[in-house]
């Protein structure tokens, strides 16, 4: 775990090794100095190639970045693409009809307005409208993206979503898994889709995820147990 860093601070990097810069770090073109530009936790990892440095910061608005896994709502359909909304009140992104597995000119996807999709950001130039895709573009195969049927969506903060998705030791989902079976799709745009066999369990999951967002990790066990007990009477 790194330390708190604020714009204007110095990054704690080894000046001699080569640096791979991530989000929240800016390389001044003239002096070639790396400076932090966002307030957050400084994360530095050493590898053979050099140091990777980024700032883990929380922001309210999601800005699409290449390779992000996102949960979106179809908000419109055109002749060759869907319009997908990743967050309320922000620019929609496009999902081409061809960005589905086994898609061809004749074989069109059958998503409707209001459906949820899990997808990957395939193009995120800041000058252009971002694009997302529902297949692995290198192989053209289905890798679990696509329509999310049923279930419910939880809106959470971006940092919390990243924690859920990338930190495999984050206890929340492990604890929930002790109580019920569920399918989950975590989008780094702050949306988590969750589906259990019955509505009551889904509801318990929903409340657990929402409440855990503002609780210390140590409390998770007790909180989730209470939620499941109240709604479904499920025991660990």
């Amino acid at each position: 775990m790194g330390s708190l860093i604020i714009p204007g601070d110095e990054l704690h990097i080894n000046k001699d090794s080569s640096v791979i810069q991530g989000p929240g770090v800016y390389c001044e073109p003239k002096s070639q100095r790396f400076i932090p530009v966002n307030a957050g936790i400084e994360m530095i990892t050493d590898s053979k190639k050099g140091q990777t440095v980024y700032v883990d910061f929380n922001s309210r608005r999601y800005v699409p970045a290449l390779g992000d896994l996102v949960v979106g709502t179809i908000s419109g359909s055109f002749s060759d693409s869907y319009r997908v909304s990743l967050a309320n009140f922000s620019t929609p992104v496009t999902l081409s009809y061809m960005a589905f597995p086994n898609a061809s000119k004749k074989n069109r996807p059958t998503l409707k307005v209001g459906d949820l999709v899990y997808a990957r950001v395939s193009n995120a130039e800041k000058e252009l409208e971002a694009e997302i895709e529902c297949l692995d573009s290198t192989t053209g195969k289905d890798v679990g993206y696509g329509l999310l049927d049923g279930g419910f969506v939880v809106d959470i903060s971006l940092a919390y979503a990243r924690e859920l998705l990338f930190n495999s030791e984050f206890p929340l989902l492990h604890i929930i898994a002790k109580y019920t079976q569920f399918e989950v799709a975590i989008g780094v745009n702050g949306k988590v889709w969750i589906k259990c066999d019955d509505a009551k369990s889904t509801l318990a999951c929903y409340r657990s995820i929402v409440e855990c967002q503002s609780t210390p990790v140590g409390e998770y066990k007790r909180l989730i147990a209470a939620n499941f007990k109240e709604i479904t009477n499920a025991m660990e």
């Binding site: 309320n88 209001g114 509505a199 009551k200 409340r207």
Partner: protein, 305 residues
Amino acid sequence: MAKDIEISTSEAKFLVEALKQNQRLDGRGFDELRDVKIELGRDYGDVTVSMGKTRVHCRISCEITQPYEDRPFEGLFFISTEISPMAGPQFENGNNTGEDEIMCARIIEKAVRRSGALDVEGLCIVAGSKCWAVRADVHFLNCDGGFIDASCIAVMTGLLHFKKPDISVSGEQITVHSIEEREPVPLGVLHIPICVSFSFFNPEDTEENIKGDSNNEIAIIDATLKEELLRDGTLTVTLNKNREVVQVSKAGGLPMDALMLMDCCHKAYKITETLTEQILSKLKEDSEGRNKYAAMLSSENNRQM
């Protein structure tokens, strides 16, 4: 154009499914209000009401103006309810022509102003030439549903809490005494209307609702924003403690059985009683806080009893 909040079909379906199993997203019962928190400011007539994440602030102010020509014996009373983007990105500045915004403004207007909750005749100073104009400015600080209910509580608490400066009249000459100089006078509040909003959900097809005999519609009290966006119909009942229906507004939406609507009114009455009680006790607490030494200074003693 302000964009709407987009909600996927899965979410809509799930919400109704959960309701069918007697569950709400935040774990409340169908007839359960969120906790109402009333905060009074240092000045008279400064109230903040919060219900869950919804926060509404109300400021009462007054000034001396001329009464309307056709009503020389009455003072003026305005309520301004403009929803600014402060409440949420779905609202726009200076454009209050949205359907919900108009309905909200009209219902508050009917509940408080037209029902005569404020004694406007008591605001008259010199008939035909001078009167008090009381103004209630409602500011919506955060939106999570239930604007009407919260702002009604805020306006009424504000009116009860507010005190206008004392005046003395000699002929046409009016002297306004500052609060430091003379004890200010409270407004004449005749009754306390309380709004309770119900949201209706239809668990079946539309045909079943209109043609069928079943009355399975689900009615919940004090919906949150998500519930408000997905509801099929709404009903706002305004009552006061005297068992009077001040205003009812069910502007379209899901057709409901008359008996069920009556049932809602009776439920609303119970809530009205508790909320009125809460407002009054909060005000009492506040006035006691302002006059800490009143009890000590009182000449009352045991012997007089």
